[in-house]
């Protein structure tokens, strides 16, 4: 059990090192796609850390991501703060916010939690827009840095790798075991002595932490930022769909899901720019009907069959 865990980590480390060479090899067009893919890999990996074992579907990714992008933009535009300081502050704010949301909602079960996170993300978006329009004057904010696309890519890679490593570490810890038990049966979890609320809140906070950092790091890419753009609810859905496509049962599921999705998405949005929403719908149907446990789940099924066939 433990040896295969280390093997998994070694493979992930090799992949991360290989991924580090992408900006040196690819042209700008492919690098730009890679940045998008890396952004989603980081977001989905941190999403799966919480939602995978517990089966609580969070649609709050957009809110955390938006906090990162918006705070960096406000701090740099209006208060001449450094990028790094604002990125740190945004991560802190998002983590605290996730803790508060968790304390308020993780007692809710299933669908109520989903709806609450969606509503919360929308509320923050409208609140920030309103404050921005009425009190802070300008509608848009500028994020001007010396970062190139390659720098942003590498920073996202570090975040994705950090999220993966943390997830791997948690999976092997008591906390990870507790989350698996919670995902199976919360009543049993309490009766074997697990403080279910604390376990869930801690994990939800890590999702908030990474979400904000990804939002902060990607902000320089857009240069000009509006609240409506960074707090997009679409992002929350994209994260869920890509993570489920890959398979939320394994930490490396999102990587398997994000890469094909981003490539097909790129093709679809170029060729059929008005049908992208329909494409999301189709992918969702595909997941529900054909890949309920994602690509990873299907691969594992095939692996089991091959092993049995070999005997």
């Amino acid at each position: 059990m433990s040896r295969s865990g280390f093997k998994e980590l070694a493979i992930a480390a090799c992949l991360a090192i290989l991924a580090g060479f992408v900006p040196l090899v690819f042209n700008n067009y492919w690098l730009s796609i890679s940045v998008t893919a890396m952004m989603y890999i980081a977001l989905c990996t941190s999403w799966v850390m919480f939602s995978g074992p517990t089966h609580y579907i969070s649609l709050a990714s957009g809110a955390f991501f938006g906090i990162g992008g918006y705070l960096v933009a406000t701090g740099m535009s209006d208060y001449q703060m450094s990028f790094w300081l604002m990125a740190g502050i945004s991560a802190l704010v998002a983590t605290i916010l996730a803790g508060l949301i968790g304390a308020a909602t993780l007692r809710l079960s299933g669908v109520y939690f989903v709806i609450f996170t969606l509503g919360l993300a929308e509320m923050i978006r409208n609140l920030v827009s309103w404050v921005q329009n009425n009190f802070l004057g300008s509608r848009g904010l500028y994020v001007l840095t010396d970062f190139t696309e390659a720098h942003i890519y590498w920073m996202l890679l570090v975040l994705a790798a950090a999220a993966y490593f943390l997830g791997w570490y948690i999976n092997r810890s008591r906390l990870g075991f507790a989350l698996r038990i919670i995902g199976n049966d919360e009543t049993v979890a309490r009766h074997v002595g697990i403080n279910t609320a604390t376990a869930k809140i801690v994990l939800f906070m890590t999702t908030g932490f990474f979400g904000a950092l990804v939002g902060a790091v990607i902000a320089p890419r857009y240069s000009y930022i509006e609240p409506n753009q960074v707090f997009s609810p679409e992002l929350s859905f994209m994260v869920v769909i890509m993570a489920l496509l890959g398979g939320a049962g394994r930490l490396w599921g999102p990587i398997v899901g994000v890469i094909p999705f981003t490539l097909v998405w790129e093709y679809v949005s170029l060729q059929f720019p008005n049908q992208t929403t329909m494409f999301i719908g189709l992918i969702f149907l595909l997941i529900v009907f054909v890949l309920p446990n994602g690509i990873v789940g299907r691969l594992e099924q095939v692996a089991v069959k091959i092993r049995q066939g070999g005997h």
Partner: protein
Amino acid sequence: MRYSGSALSVNGVTKRFGGLVAVDNMEFSVGEHEMVGIIGPNGSGKTTMMNMISGTFKPTSGSISMMGSRISDLPAQEITRRGVGRTFQLVRLLPSLSVLENVIAGAVFGHRKRWGREAEDHAHRMLERVGMDAMSYAPVSSLTYIDQKRVELARVLAGDPEILLLDEWLAGLNPTELETGIELIHDLRKEGRTVILVEHVMDAIRSLCDRCVVMSSGVKIAEGSPDVVLSDPEVIRAYLGDDDA
């Protein structure tokens, strides 16, 4: 509350669900190393009583104390950590975990905490104890009902509870399984464990329990040794109804 020398004491506990009084002013105590049965007809509040002891429900009024300190305000996980372990009326295993992991779950977070190799070894010992070690790596879905119950018992024992709550642990077993089941509980008794069991199987109650508490419509109607209690006219009436009914 003064420590009265009992492992668990239930003091004037009442539980209301809306207008329904499920448990009404219950009062009993369980000594250390004692095996006490809670019996009574269906719907008499036995399981509600168990749920209050384990912390699934909070009593509406009254208190429950363990070794003299009040536990009825604590959440379920805290009560487990203090040393109360329970099985469920409808057996509850963790379906996506293996048999061994199910038992480890009981060893990691409970009254005594173990982790890693130690937890695994301990879980194997518990499985051996209930005669299930050969199935350690099987998926839970492949187990028969009695085997599921045995695994659940192993999970509870893995937490080294001071007080064990068995909620109709023998229900739904066929005659051969029942024999195995009764034998297992007998072993617990021989170890000197403090056990509270809710049970309908009268043979088991006679042979296992030191004492019985009889409930009917949420109220305690009798208490004493199984033989005395089971021949009490009021208990017979509660089970079978009045002569003229």
